[in-house]
Every structure is written in structure tokens, then in C-alpha cells.
Amino acid sequence: MIAEAGHLALIFALLMAALQAVFPLAGATLGMPAWVGVARPAARAQSLFLLIAFGCLVQSFVDNDFSVLYVAEHSNSALPLFYRIAATWGAHEGSVLLWATILGLWAGAVSLFSRGLSEVFVARVLGVLGLVSVGILLFILFTSNPFERLLPAPLDGRDLNPLLQDFGLAVHPPMLYMGYVGMAVPFSFAIAALLSGSLDIAWARWSRPWTLVAWAFLTLGITLGSWWAYYELGWGGWWFWDPVENASFMPWLMATALIHSLAVTEKRGAFKAWTVLLAIFAFSLSLLGMFLVRSGILVSVHAFANDPERGLFILIFLGLVIGGSLLLYALRAPTVKDHARFHWFSRESLLLLNNVLLVIACASVLLGTLYPLVLDALGLGKISVGPPYFGSVFTPLTAPLFLLAGIGPLVAWRQGNPSRLWRQVRWLIPLSIVAAVVLTVLWFDIGQIATVAGLSCAFWLATTSLLPLWQRFRHRKGLGGLRQPLGYYGMTLAHFGLAVFLVGVTVSNHFSIEKTVRLETGESATLGGYTFLFEGVREIEGPNYTAREGLFTVSDGDRITARLRPQKRFYPVQRNVMTEAAIDPSLARDIYVALGESLEGDAWSVRLYVKPAIRWIWLGGLLMMTGGFLAAADRRYRLTVKDETIVTTPA
């Protein structure tokens, strides 16, 4: 019953999405207020029906209803409740439903929080969002229905992939999708602006907070994914340049370019057409990511060719979205008047440079991700593009960004003063380099050019981002000078977070140490000044697995630092063996122990790591995310809405 109700709710959601698309868009073009008025109620109804459908699927998992094919394939009665709920988005059908539901929620949010905008404009925005919803809901209903029945029902389900039975991966997809799908909102604003023909700066101001929120969620989603990969599958790695990761990273790079470009468009009226193009690209890359991950093309080009139904559907959808919006852009963009002028040394120029570097960096990730697929499809050979490629290409392309992010905000709009900037920052250059040298030599004993360069960059970025606050504090004699809008603090925090991230990357890349040893019970090994005493292995029984758990006492001299219990789990339903590493985390370093194989006698092979500053990577991500949310909460955007209300209310 519940599954059928969910199916029905999906069909209703599709109908609502169709209403939301057709009437508002037609009404806005033909000037029919009644049709325009359909937009908000239809969007809210659509999100309500999607929530019902999604709730039905969750309920089917909670109830262990194995007569639902999707539940039977991805759950098990022994699976703990939390993971049964998370299993809802653990595989294809459910994650696409999550995608659609979040899209519905974004549309609902736009219908609620855009009271100040003109009805016609909101109708266009919601209409475009409705069109996207129609596409995705058709995809679900025709190719990926999660409510399909399996009769007769099996006695028990096939269980969730043990990799996914984990807190990090339970919360990672919803956050990531909030960001991914959130890119549909600036996209719809941009398309609505193109449709209305008036590419003024208003749309940029309206879409800024939405873009910032979506970007912040995307940042959080990627950070969570990286953290999960670190402790669950990576042997201490935190980024693998896997196509699935790249699929989420490309929209992030594009969205980062977009939030900077939107600032220029809103404040200076420049880059109007370019900003629209970025909004289109950001969402197109989100859809491309969905195509890559969902079509099976990454497993092999041939797997895709053998079962092309889903992939082909998304590919056509992708073609329609990109083709349609670029066609509209080509028709409308040439009419945009962009007379804003700026000097070569100005904040506009620096932000343009930021955009160019981010877009090219994104293009290089796209190239590296698609190249092996294209080569293989053309029969030109099989190659692998992995971390060494991205290290040599992506790193030099993005390095200037770290140098420029701090000084961009110090340069005035329209025409900056190079000598004034030089006077402000000149003492920070030797300071950053000396600090980096001192740190690498004193703290880590060894000095390497790459480490010194990375750390100098990080110090430079951190100090230049905080410099304006420091100057205000000094000149205004106290805290009064620190009264700045939230948007300013958001930006500063995000740039500072980037510096923190860079410290984490540099230090953990160059100073992590590892060791693989054979240990018998009672033996110990040393690494990085820590002694790891192996106290043996015992059998334990989990809710849906059995495990052998090692006990390690880690000590630093005669002080006990941590007791670590790495596990080797066996999941009987999927007949999978999983290694659960044990980690003693801290900001200074992580101690990471993983059990290997049982060797002869009561010996085990064991892998030990000491990874300094690796937490800073995710701390930096969290700071960037917080910066995004802070900036989105700036009073300016809310004031704007109120002002608009006053203007549009007849006196």
C-alpha cells in the first residue's frame, strides 16, 4: 500500500511540475496574470507530493517491506534502523528520488522566500525549475521507479553495501545533492532573466543568496565525502581524482567562479552576459555529473552501451538543457549592453582573472575525466588519467588563485592603486616566507621547496585576508571598526578557510609517515615518536556483521596517547570483508591504525600512519562553508526584498 501511495504521489508531483512549468511560463510571455499566479501554489504542491513520495520510500525501508524490489536489493532486516533510513538513498533509484525531492524543496523555498520579486519574474524562475522537475520525474517514472514490486517477496533483503553503512556516507549525499541541485536555482534565475529580456543587475542581486547557500551545501557535501573516503576506504588518502569525485568538484569550481562573478555584476553592472553563462555551466556540470555517475559509463563504456536506457535518457535531457539554454543565450546575450569600464588594475580585473583560472581549472578536470572515455569510445586505446595527471596540470592552474584571493578585496573597484597595495602588503611577503621556513625546519626537521612554497602561500593568504580587519581595528581605535556587513565576514572566513585547507594539504602530503609491520601479540612498533603496542585480537559480534578487533595502546614516551581498536569486519549477507581503521584524531596529527591479514601464529600485518595536520583539510572546508552561509545571511539581501516590497506596493 505504502509503495503504491508513493508511486501515486510521484505521478501527482509530475503533474504539478508540468503545471508549474507550462502555465507560469506561458502566462509570463502572454501577459496573463491568472496563469502567472499558478507558479507558487504549483511549486509548493509539487514539493509536498515529492516529500510524500520520499517519505513512503523511507517508510518501506523502516518496515522492511521486501516486496519492494529496491528495498529487497538494498536492505536487510538485521540492518540497524539508522542505516535502513540512509539506505533510501544508497543506490540508484533512491538517490534519483532524493535528487528530485531536493529540487522540489528548492522550488518550494523559492516560492516562499521571494515575496519581494515581481510575480512575473518569480513565475519564470519557477517555470524553469518546473521544466527541470518534469525531466527528472519522467526519468524516475520511466526508467528508475523505486516503488516497483517484487512478488513473491523474498524472506530477507540483500543488504546495503557495507561501504555505505557509515555515518559519513549516510549524511554525505543529502548535503551534496543540496548543493548540486541547488545550482538549478541560479540557473533558473539566469534563464528567467534571459527570457524576460532585461538582463539588468537586479537578477544578480536576487540570485546571489541562493547561489551562496547552494555553494555552501556543495562545499559541505564534498568535505564530508573526502572525510568519509579518508577513514573508510582510502588508506589515509583524502582525494583520489576519481571521476565520481570530479563530478562533484566541477560544479563546485564553476559555482565558485559564479559567486565571484555575480558580485561584479551586482556591484558594478559588469560581466552580465558572462555571469549568465557561468550559471548555465554550473548547472549543466551538475547534470553531467549525474550522467557520469548514473549511466554506468564510468564502469566501462561498454557497460553503458549494453544497457543504455538510463544513460541515454539523461544524455538527451542534458542535451536539451544545455542546448536550449545556450540557444537562448545566443539569441539574447548580444543585446545585453555592458558599458562598465575598469582599469587593468582593479577589483574587476582581478575577479575576471579569478574566473578565468577557475573555469580553466574546471575544464582541465573535465578533460581529464572524459578523455579516457572518449579515447576508448573512438577505439584509440585505453588510458588511465589519475592523480599524477591532475597534480601536474590542475595544481599550477590553481596556484595563482591562492596568491590572489587575499589581495583581491584590498584593491578598489574600477581603478586600484598598485603602490598603495604594495605599501599595505610588502611586509607580509617576507613574513610569510620566513614563517614557512621556520616551521618546516624547526617543526618537521626537513626543509623542502614544495613545502615551503605551500606554507608561504597559506600564510600569505591568511594574513592578507585578515589584513583589512586589522587595519580597521587599528585606525578606528577598537572594535567599532570591525562593524562590517556579514557578507564581508563571510568572504574573509571563506578565504581564510582556503588558507587553512592549504596548510592541511601541504603538511599532510609532505610529512605523513607510514609503516607496514608484522606484529605478534605483545610486540610493539614505533613510528614518528609513538610506540604502538599490539595487545591482541578478539572476536566481536556486530548487529549485521562479525568482526575481529585488534587492540593497540599508543604511547608517547611513558604517557598513553590513545587506545585504538581497528576492526576487520565480515558482512555475511554480501560476503564482504571490510577494514575499519581506528583513528586518534587531533588538530596536530592523526594516528591511524589498520589491521591487515592474519599471518601464521598469532601475528598480524598492521599498517600504521601518523598524519600531521590532515584535519585542517576538512576544517578549511567547513570554514569555507560557514563563510558561504554567513554571506548569504547578509542583511543586504533581506533589506532588498523589503525595499522591493515597498516599491511594488501601490501607494
Binding site: 588508506w235 583520489f240 588511465s384 599524477p388
Partner: protein, 159 residues
């Protein structure tokens, strides 16, 4: 035939519990050799896994290849020779750093070519967008200004 092969491969890929790397205890005479070993197995691809390096994979093949890399290193072979041996056996697919050749030129040079083009475009935009400095007024214009000012001065007392 081909289809069945890939279904088999897919099954193999999915059934390999790819979560845990093989952990072998290896002895190295010096730290530099150990570093080379880790760098090599980190840049070589496990051929039966979806996307994992030899270092991160627990597949039997990855284990065998790690053994071979280790043996060749201990035999004193240089990195280049070890890589060449694996490429001869498995093709370029085994390399995570694709070799530079005709078919990969676009891959390696594309981003930097794009950067050059973008630099040129930026330069053009910069030239087009630079605000023109106000030109000094010529004699005729100065007279006009004087006239206007005089006019204003005459009107003001009256108003």
C-alpha cells in the same frame, strides 16, 4: 561474446571487496627504495578494479603486481624499466600518468593552450574596457565653457 566478457568483468569488479588494501610486510634496505616503491605502486593502476592504484587495492592481481614491482626494485632495476615492463604487458591503461603521445597531446596541452588563449582574450578585454582619460579641451570647447559660465552668472542674480 564481448558482452559476456564485460558482464563477467563487471561481476568481478563488483565482487572484489575493494575496501581494503593488501597489507604486506616488506623489508627495504634503505628509505629511498621504500619511497620509490610507494610512489610506483601509487601511480600504477590495478587493472581489475574500478579505479584504484596498486597501492590501494586488495585484488589478487594487484597483490601479484606489487610483488613483481618489489622484486624488480630489489633487483636494482630503475623505475623507467619497471614501468616499461608493465606497459609492455598491460598497455598504457596501467599508468595513472598517461604518456605523452599523439593521442594524448590534447589532454596534456589543452589546459595550458586554453590559458594562453584566455590570457590573450583578457588582454583584449583589458584594452577595450580601460576608461579613456579625459582629453584636454580644445580652444573651441573652452570658449563654449566660458560662454556657458558667463550665461549662468548673468542669470543667477536675476533669479
Amino acid at each position: 561474446m564481448k558482452g559476456r566478457y564485460f558482464v563477467l568483468l563487471l561481476f568481478f569488479v563488483l565482487s572484489v571487496p575493494f575496501v581494503h588494501a593488501g597489507i604486506e610486510v616488506r623489508e627495504f634496505p634503505d628509505a629511498r627504495l621504500e619511497q620509490r616503491y610507494h610512489r610506483l605502486i601509487g601511480e600504477l593502476r590495478c587493472l581489475v578494479c574500478q579505479n584504484q592504484s596498486l597501492a590501494d587495492s586488495n585484488a589478487d592481481l594487484a597483490e601479484d603486481l606489487r610483488d613483481e614491482v618489489y622484486a624488480m626494485l630489489m633487483a636494482g632495476k630503475p623505475d623507467r624499466e619497471i614501468v616499461a615492463f608493465l606497459v609492455a604487458r598491460y598497455g598504457d591503461f596501467v599508468l595513472y600518468r598517461p604518456p605523452v603521445k599523439k593521442t594524448t597531446l590534447l589532454l596534456w596541452l589543452g589546459p595550458f593552450a586554453a590559458l594562453l588563449v584566455a590570457g590573450w582574450v583578457l588582454w583584449r578585454i583589458g584594452k577595450a574596457r580601460t576608461p579613456e582619460p579625459a582629453a584636454p579641451l580644445n580652444e573651441e570647447e573652452q570658449q563654449k565653457v566660458r560662454k556657458l559660465l558667463q550665461q549662468q552668472n548673468r542669470e543667477e542674480p536675476g533669479s
